[in-house]
């Protein structure tokens, strides 16, 4: 049967083509982003101390945007795949709310400064995310198994509870703390701390690699948990590994950049329409596409109303919401 080999060959060629296109788009977006913003820096202008500093800052910001956008998209792919629900997003398990509680507490308690080369706020936020993940996972467990529905419900409830804790803390905060809290919650990709950037990079890259390694398992989960077990997947172990991976990525992204919505929901969706549902292709291409999407949104946030900056979450929502509605309508028509 020549047919099947041809199909597999074609698929290989197509995924190489997709990778080339996405990497080129990413480089182009990064280049444009580097040279846009409130301060005008000409491409061929000799750099002085000032403009060099600005370019460094933008470069940090570009790298964080790509890591956070790519990471949240991969986390979205993992959660949608495991929970077999295309409406899931990285924040569904309450991880991000846990990170918010950590971040807000560190602001209110005035726990500033550095610890082990990292800013204290992101560490608090990541700790909040980690504690939330293990609490949610253990609560959802019933006699050695973690039923997906339990996990989803526990996550949603934990998220609601933790959000109300954030509101409670906010209601008792002083003026200046309030401002920091609001800015953190809005999400911001400007990063000054090289250590934090490295931390996010390690978490996101390791998590994406793990998700890629287990892409056959993720494919199997699309048939349902029992079906996955029938073809040889150790489902309980895989669920633990993959939920932990998604949470680690989400925790790191939110700790560094706050809560940026829509990326982790629509990028996996969109890429599934473009490259198909096979996770071996879906995971790397979602990482690249998520990076491009958030980078473009963040560049728009910086460049649309200079010198003011629009919160990047507003831009992702403005792009994301109509796209999502259109997709849902298209889907229900079919």
């Amino acid at each position: 049967m020549k047919d099947i080999r041809n199909i597999l060959e074609d698929r290989k060629k197509r995924s190489v083509k997709t990778a080339v296109i996405l990497v080129s788009l990413l480089l182009a977006a990064a280049f444009i982003s580097l040279y846009s913003g409130a301060a005008k820096i000409g491409l061929f202008e000799p750099l002085n101390v000032m403009s060099r500093q600005i370019l460094y800052m933008r470069l940090f910001r570009i790298m964080l945007a790509v890591l956070v956008g790519g990471g949240l998209s991969v986390a979205g792919v993992i959660l949608q795949g495991l929970l077999r629900n295309p409406l899931c997003e990285p924040y569904v398990l309450g991880i991000s709310s846990g990170a918010s509680v950590g971040a807000v507490l560190s602001i209110v308690l005035g726990a500033g400064g550095m610890f082990a080369g990292l800013g204290v706020l992101p560490l608090w936020a990541f700790a909040g995310a980690a504690v939330t993940f293990f609490a949610v996972y253990r609560t959802a467990e019933v006699s050695g198994r973690v039923p997906m529905q339990n996990l989803l419900l526990t996550g949603v409830i934990a998220g609601a509870l933790l959000s109300s804790i954030v509101i409670f803390i906010v209601s008792f905060s002083q003026q200046d703390a309030l401002h920091s809290i609001i800015w953190w919650l809005l999400g911001n990709l400007q990063i000054f701390d090289g250590g934090l950037l490295v931390f996010v990079a390690v978490m996101v890259v390791a998590g994406t690699a793990a998700a890629y390694i287990f892409s056959n398992e993720l494919n199997a989960f699309a048939l349902g948990e029992e079906e996955a077990a029938h073809i040889g997947v150790d489902t309980e172990r895989m669920k633990m590994v993959l939920f932990l991976t998604a949470s680690m990525i989400t925790g790191a992204a939110v700790s560094a950049a706050g809560m940026i919505g829509f990326v982790g929901l629509i990028v996996p969706h969109f890429m599934r329409m473009v490259v198909g549902p096979d996770h071996k292709i879906l995971i790397p291409s979602s990482f690249l596409a998520g990076g491009i999407f958030l980078l473009v949104c963040d560049t728009a946030a910086r460049a649309l109303m200079p010198p003011a900056e629009i919160p990047v979450g507003v831009i992702t929502a403005v792009f994301g919401a109509p796209f999502f509605i259109r997709m849902l309508r298209k889907k229900s028509r079919l």
Binding site: D3, L8, I231, V233, D234, R272, G276
Partner: protein
């Protein structure tokens, strides 16, 4: 390698036994039909043989190996399961679904090898789904989807294939097509055990039947032995007539409309 021994199995949910003391054996290459009324425990039995449920007592082994002591991937290489109608949520193509059957053979970092592709090609040819391989599984007809799912199970290259109601959503032509495929597999030394609702199809295709009633084996043997009208009337609580199919010589079961046995009983128990 594909011989299955089920011995004194008690199994169910949360300690509540649904099947009680079920024993039967299936020889290599045998085509066995599991029949019985709704709620008799057929699916529970299948879920126990496929390791979804752990029995409370008793043993299940393939050849000389206890299935519950086999590593998960080894088990998936010897036993494949086709469930009645799994929902595939994302639009995987039929080929991608069949390829998933190679999961227990593909190493963690590897992609599909030459053997994987050959096994998939054999599975696709045996189930005659070459024409639909590049279409999304959610766009296939019920008959096509069932054949793709059987192809996925075949790609596991199992010695034993379990099927839970493989013909339940199909019209007669597709029922015959699917059962012909299964018959072909059992001729090729794969042991096939299928839950079947249609007694006549079961009689026509299966080498042996296992009749389950109230969580226990009521009768087992050739279709002619099991489809005795007295046994069927008692188990299904329905009046039937059993005749011989003039073409195949196999028994077939006719219903007598309006003769539901429960009717009289209801009157008599009504004081």
């Amino acid at each position: 390698m594909g011989a299955l021994y089920v011995k004194n199995v008690v199994s169910g949910y949360a300690g509540k036994a649904v099947i009680r003391d079920v024993s039967f054996t299936a020889a290599e290459g045998e085509f066995i039909g599991i029949i019985g009324p709704n709620g008799a425990g057929k699916s529970t039995l299948m879920r126990t043989i496929s390791r979804v449920l752990r029995p409370d007592s008793g043993s299940i082994s393939i050849g000389s190996k206890d299935i519950f002591s086999m590593p998960q991937k080894d088990f998936a290489r010897s036993v494949a399961f086709v469930s009645s109608d799994p929902a595939v949520v994302f639009p995987f193509t039929a080929l991608e679904v069949v390829m998933m059957g190679r999961f227990p053979y593909i190493r963690m970092f590897g992609s599909e090898s030459r053997e994987d592709i050959e096994a998939v090609e054999r599975a696709v040819a045996a189930t005659d789904c070459g024409a639909v391989v590049s279409r999304p599984i959610d766009r296939l007809s019920a008959g096509e989807r069932q054949r793709v799912l059987i192809a996925k199970a075949l790609a596991q290259e199992p010695g034993l294939m379990l099927l839970d109601e493989p013909t339940s959503h199909l019209d007669i032509s597709h029922q015959v097509q699917v059962l012909d495929i299964l018959k072909g597999l059992s001729a090729g030394k794969i042991t096939v055990i299928a839950v079947l609702h249609d007694l006549n199809l079961a009689a026509e295709y299966c080498d042996r039947l296992v009749l389950i009633s109230g969580g226990a084996v009521r009768s087992t043997g050739t279709p002619a032995e099991v489809l005795d009208y007295r046994i069927i009337e008692e188990v299904y609580n329905t009046v039937v007539v059993v005749r011989e199919n003039p073409v195949s010589g196999k028994p077939y079961v006719l219903l007598a409309p309006g003769s539901k046995k429960g009717g009289d009983r209801k009157v008599s128990s009504n004081k």
